[in-house]
Symmetry: C2
Subunit: 450 residues, 2 copies
Amino acid sequence: MLQDKNKILIESIKRLLRRNAIPHLRKIVNKTHAADLSDVFPYLTVRQQHKLFELIDDVEKKGILFSELDEATFLAFVEQMNVDDIVPVFEAMPSDDVADLLGQLRDEKSDAILKKMKREGQEEVENLLKYGDDTAGGIMVPDFIALREDATAGEAIKMFQKDYKDVEMPFYLYVVDEYGKLVGVSSLRQLVVVSPDTPLKAFMSTDVFSVRTDTDQEEVAKLVARYDILAVPVVDDTNTLMGIITVDDVIDIIKEEATEDILKMAGVGTEFIESKSILKNTRIRMPWLLASCFGGLAATFIIGEFEESLKQVSALAAFIPVIMGMGGNIGTQSSTIVVRGISTGFLDVREIWSVVFKELSIGLLLGLVYGTLIGVVAQFRFSGPKLALAVGSAVICSMSVAALVGSLVPMVFARMNVDPAVATGPFVTTSIDIIAVFFYFRIASILLGL
Amino acid sequence: MLQDKNKILIESIKRLLRRNAIPHLRKIVNKTHAADLSDVFPYLTVRQQHKLFELIDDVEKKGILFSELDEATFLAFVEQMNVDDIVPVFEAMPSDDVADLLGQLRDEKSDAILKKMKREGQEEVENLLKYGDDTAGGIMVPDFIALREDATAGEAIKMFQKDYKDVEMPFYLYVVDEYGKLVGVSSLRQLVVVSPDTPLKAFMSTDVFSVRTDTDQEEVAKLVARYDILAVPVVDDTNTLMGIITVDDVIDIIKEEATEDILKMAGVGTEFIESKSILKNTRIRMPWLLASCFGGLAATFIIGEFEESLKQVSALAAFIPVIMGMGGNIGTQSSTIVVRGISTGFLDVREIWSVVFKELSIGLLLGLVYGTLIGVVAQFRFSGPKLALAVGSAVICSMSVAALVGSLVPMVFARMNVDPAVATGPFVTTSIDIIAVFFYFRIASILLGL
């Protein structure tokens, strides 16, 4: 739906640019949401982009467009812009977004921009740049509404009308003591409902969630999702209010973290790389295949050890794929359940043994089912009861071990505070491959007396 | 962090329950957020749960607790409750949550509850039950704030103080015409900022996003995430305002959809099943392994065809794992990138050929790198240049084909409006296994003249 709409938009804008229909373009550009314009930009030349950009009347909209562009498009666009033209746009943006974009620019350029920004904005951005990218400090905005506890509801509403017109999302009104320390929270709605001379401390809630500047962004997202709040205040280690994180940023974090988990499990890095070039893509993906390559080569050596058995019963080779495949698949099931369970909070890292025991039991049961099935096929195909027994037992064995390894490895990694998603994918599949092949040939050579 | 906090909470509540320290328990229960209480419940007996529940003073909090409990705990708890005790709790809940919970209960029980609810709540819930679970209609709440366009800001504020105290999240004020059709939107904040006698139509925004009752929830989530809005109005096909969807529900959708994608790709159903019993778990996971079983058996028959070649060069068998493993891993990379790219909107389903071509090129490049490496190892291990050449070429071949299949299949499924995540996992890995094995033996038998 969204995509179709934007396809039409792209076509119309391109056509109007060709005809140089400025008044028409101006109308479209100012009526279209910046998020949609950001989809059009990658389809235009940098010159065309600048033509469009200059037609945007609202400088805040220019700012939103900046933060919505993908990194490559933004860099190419801004490269052709004077620092003096960039500064007013940055000054109209929330400082957390400015800090993000400055991080993408070359150091000289970002320093030059920062230097020309108004003192206030400059300080805000510099403060944010101090914190780690993935911490609450790095994503908070310093534009919050904070009042002292003896202010009245009426005074608070007046402040709104005067001083706080620029605050990004004014749902909560934070209450601080004389040292700026967070003591309570109220909402714009409560202000409207109580009588104007009621002091804040009479109706504020003192039970206020907050996070520290160094709290991990994933932790912040969990808190906001869990308690259905719209913004969470960020305090330093003396409980002084430093900024807030709003729910729209939390949504971005949740999407980003889910994508990261998915990509890591598949062994394709931690960022979405499809927009990068073929060569860059290849370079990023190459190391993730190394584990699988070494694992496969290890299996080669293991099988090499059983060359004599293979010479006698060449049918043994035919079952390598199914034994590896069944182990690999159930291992992926187990590790996916555990990795996602940990990251959504469904699974408790401390219950390691109950989780692993459960997965092992499931692996054993599924192994019995599929081991029997595959053993029966082996009997029909090669009519060797011993071979069939060896293949069936190897399937049971590889599936149970795979479920064990697939659940144990991410649990252990998580307990050691290593991201289970990164560690799991290639590591688990590769070790399962090796173990499965080894057990298969060991079992077969014993049962077949080779 | 969250988990540690709740571990302490669980321990304290259990201890206090053993000591029957009612006043202490009452204090804790009323101070603790319902989301945290919901974590304690599964660790208690149903009797203990009821004891705690009765100590909760605020009926709204009881409602939040209901919706936060996991399905099994909720059902066991509510089973022991009279309909007359359930009704007041449901009446204090947003109707979308009531509809969700009623869907979990046995029909007789949910009918009995619905019948005893006040007319208004009953109608709201029945209206919601009409819509599909995953549509905007199924997740909207009918408690929105709507005023006519000639009402003034002052009148609107008065309405807030009187009529709209129960509205879940009052950020937006929707403006409707005389037929109830949506014509504009304003915010509580704007009401406070303009002079009280200004009519809504003078300052409302007419550029209002809305979705239809039958819009898919994933589409709604994309819209909210994209435009950073806090709530989206839901209209029927005559543009009459029916309800709103708030950002807290959108967060749940985003998390749910990401989990679904991850589980589907790993072939473990569409729901998080770790809380279910071992047997149920086994039953759900069994069919997802079927594809891999049949694929593996197909590979058995293919290899069986080359039994003669294997008898002559038994070393051939040793390279089956590495060729399958490399193909499988790069195939997972490609399909993961494509599936996640489609669901986050990074990839456009219509650009099927450019995406597939890119993946194929990457597969070829990575195939050249790893094919050479593995070929060299084969030469050292078995010192047969022809075998080394066959193994190397098979790796190149299987990796390119895997990247092709891994990107093409999800793109094609998405274009046919079949969920690419479901279709991709087992289907892609299995077909890659078969293709890789086939090419390997074909190439080897040609090169080695078998």
